[in-house]
Subunit: 94 residues, 7 copies
């Protein structure tokens, strides 16, 4: 598996039918084409200028809405993933 | 429901008639096309460089004026919402 | 009424004749088209990186010169107002 | 009179003959067209990220060389003034 | 050998067959054309504004996914290497 | 004379023959057309975000190499000078 | 000789045959055209926002790989040198 660094996370995008069950529809018109997905791995945290390491607000298994804008696509054992910074994760879907 | 992260908020835009009751009219000419709406969820707060987490100035139920500029549109159970940073919320309408 | 957030203020632009009484004329040639107006509401203050909240240098009723550049226009009960950051307020007119 | 805010100053540009007396000639070729003038009012000081307010290095009556680049022109009782940030004041002319 | 400075690392890009063994395929479509490789040397750490030197999150021998975007190519004794900042290293492949 | 503010310095550019004596030749090809000159006045120092004022690394009389890029030209009593930030002074010529 | 200021260094670029002895070949294709050279002088160190002066990671005599991108060319007594910031020095060649 892959372990993201610092304040990055690895997300598995949810397929269409998975999305409709959650009732969330992300209009394609939006400039940043937000997406829904599941967090599969999180980094060690955000390093602040005072040397403190702050754990991320999301954890493995969280269902989230994120903006694809700055992410990096990667395929592992045939499955698509996206590596992105935590600031591109907009909200947790409860 | 969805839980915004960090210093983000979720806003439900007010319909036209709801706006006229509040007496607020937002001219379309303005570059940032400000909007009126209601806060439906707020993030855990803004993380400062000294590690402190500062609660947001707005809370659930506040009626606000905001600039749509940097927001992300999202539809949940057929209702439109906007996820934006608190700095795009300009004022609370009392 | 509306309560601006953080380091923002709400300004009511002065009409032409109100301006000539104060002797201040703002040439249109200037790139930022400065304006004269009155502060009608101020935010809770500027949040610094050390978590301190610094009150604004202007208060309700101050007559000010400001640059329209980054403001957001808004009309409340038929009256035009501008929501802007305190850094766009250049000076107080005594 | 007008009271500049924060780290701003109000400058009255010196007329041509006033300049030649001081021996200072500012070539027009320079990109930023530097100017000579007199400080007529100074702000309360520069606000640092640690909350400290640092008084400005110039005071009322100082003769200065400044770059017009970021200033805002304003006319008060028929006299032209310029509101600019202290960082656009390059030097004091002794 | 070469010793990278500060928060830089030296990476040896993995050949095609080495990559397929790890099951990781990096689609060329991705804007930043992420790559897989091995860390061969790490810098002394990231210097923070408070003077603290923070060791890097990766070490010699780690298999990583990185974005080629800001790196500098260098050939030593016929072998290709890339010098890049740690922030361009996205994740460790376990 | 003129007293530069903050982290600025006043430099008098060296004439051609003065330069060849020092053995320093500055190729015109370089983007920033570096120049040689003498420091004639220095500011009170660089103001840091913690409020500390750090004296400049150069002093009156130092012969220096500097990049003309961000400077402001000024002529005083017929002599050309340049007002620039200390960060545009590259080195002291001993 | 010349004494670089702050976090700058003076580098003497290595001639072609000197480079091949060290086994390092720097492909011209690389956007930033990295170069090999020797450090001939270092500045007093990097000034941090807390007022601390941090000594540089390189010293006189170090063989280094650097990116020419932001440097300033200078010829002293017929010999070419480059003045650059330490952040443009990528690695030390041991």
């Amino acid at each position: 598996m892959i372990k993201p660094l610092g304040d990055r996370v690895v997300v598995k995008a949810l397929e269409r039918e998975e999305k409709t069950k959650s009732g969330i529809v992300l209009p394609d018109t939006a400039k940043e084409k937000p997406q829904e997905g599941k967090i599969v791995a999180v980094g060690t945290g955000k390093l602040l200028e005072n040397g403190q390491r702050v754990p991320l607000d999301v954890k493995e298994g969280d269902k989230v809405v994120f903006s694809k804008y700055g992410g990096t696509e990667i395929k592992i054992d045939g499955q698509d993933y996206l590596i992105l910074s935590e600031r591109d994760v907009l909200a947790i879907v409860e």
